[in-house]
Amino acid sequence: MSLSNDTIKQRLIEKFGDQVGHFEEPYGMLTFEAPKDLNLKVLQFLYDDEELAFRFLTDLQAVHYPDNKGRELAVVYHLHNLVANVRIRFKVFTDINQPDVYSATALFAAANWMERETYDFYGVNFVGHPNLKRILNVDEMDYFPMRKEFPLEEQTRVDKDDEMFGR
């Protein structure tokens, strides 16, 4: 393979120094992390570089780590180099009290709906998104259901006996 994980890692460290870190390779897929202010710069670098050329945003979502104080929400970008067929995973972490992350819509059109979905379920506020509103849930919903503090079950039910349902 022409493009190895080590090469990608080397190029990132050359460009961003110690601001990128936490390099891991679970199941052979390069995973790394950067400060949330740098997310667009890292994505742009990975996109523009002739050798790296990560020009396809496969997926974008968030993860909630309630015990990770100050960096509760992780926004994860899955990128794909279609020429060399290499995939990488890029994470930024943010405080849940101020979940502002720059929107990648200017770089990837595919990010539009994915960021709306991430906002819908986790409440990540994508700064610069053209139309940041709920996409899958009802518009009247007043919370972000995939955050861990909200129970999965519908809370408006009164007729279900908790003992019968193992709660």
């Binding site: 259901p145 999965l152 007729d159």
Partner: protein, 192 residues
Amino acid sequence: MARPVQYNIYGQTDVKLVKEGPEGYMGEGFFGTSLDKVVGLARKNSIWPLPFATSCCGIEFMATMASHYDLARFGSERVGFSPRQCDLLMVMGTIAKKMAPVVKQVYLQMAEPRWVLAMGACASSGGIFDTYSVLQGIDQIIPVDVYIPGCPPRPEAVIDGILKVQDLVGKESLRRRNSDKYKQLMESYGIQ
């Protein structure tokens, strides 16, 4: 020669091939009864169902409509797909909260008198989908006349539910839809 089929032995079986008509006065060449009984009789035997099928209950309903179970025997030959023509809204399957306004819109487009049947655990109560995205029973948004339990119910249960609807339709007073109680019921659902 007596035929060995129990349904054909007149007077010796409790199976009734023809349902009895309404109460009234009968004589040579005439039959007198009240108007709402006649209207009820006509309505109950010509219900046009509007299937609102979203999941596996819809598949069971298709089996019910097909030749094997043949819902047409009960006067529901024509399944309409326009709410403006139909009498019975059959909600079959999980209704997500995002789908709820659609169900309500379909109900509002139906002309009075209209009836609603909730088929299966999901339409009746949310079923196993006790989750933030699923409506916990369609009776939260529209009034329901008959619930069919099951997950999904067998076609026999669907037929039983239809017969229960027929009972309701046949016995309904012509003035019910103008009564204060009915208006209160509609207002409790925010329907004018």
